[in-house]
Symmetry: C2
Amino acid sequence: MISSDVIRGYNDTIILSLLIQGDSYGYEISRNIRTITNEQYIIKETTLYSAFARLEKNGYIESYYGEETQGKRRTYYRITPKGIEYYREKCKEWNLTKNVINKFVKELDDNGSY
Amino acid sequence: MISSDVIRGYNDTIILSLLIQGDSYGYEISRNIRTITNEQYIIKETTLYSAFARLEKNGYIESYYGEETQGKRRTYYRITPKGIEYYREKCKEWNLTKNVINKFVKELDDNGSY
DNA sequence: TAACGTACTATGTCTGTCGTAGTAATTATA
DNA sequence: TATAATTACTACGACAGACATAGTACGTTA
């Protein structure tokens, strides 16, 4: 299980990384995260939508309504240049953080032993 | 800068990893974290002591007073078998989490570029 | 004697995650 | 044909870990 305290603060980055591939909407992003991680990480709906709100408030993404003629209209999200910049910074930060934590946590082999 | 949202939930693990090397106390652990990470991560005092309280409450560490004849008496901490077990689990979790986040975050070279 | 380093405790704030619940439309199933 | 499942969200509130701020207490050094 991935604890939410660890992934905390990286949900925004995960979402941005998917929006870099192209515009998307809530359900699709949720599905993508699930499949990309082989069901290892399933983002909660509330976590996802509160992340959208935060990202938009910060100017990292923009939203617009889809053109669905039937069914409920989707809200699509598009990453902004500011969002791309933020994503890059978070990538750098992640590499730093990973190295820091790796100094204290043992690497495990495929059997989960060390 | 290491964001606190990332390290969140791993402060406990970092502390336990140091206590596995031997009993210690607040200030020493704080210094060790600073030097091991080459000043890249400096744990806040309040974060450290609230982590001690949490770890002790959960039975992962035990405390006892030092034998200092002069100066303020230190509170030493000792890891328990339960704490060692918890540390192992967090190591496994970290390796999982690292792989999940790595799927969305680009690896950077030494220049911070990708 | 005053500053600095060591070694903490107390209190309260903030933020991201998440539990719970509800709304609303479409599509599949019994 | 009813109902369950899937898609696509919104609202509200609780919780926990990190941290800001402040204070206590003792020893050593300038």
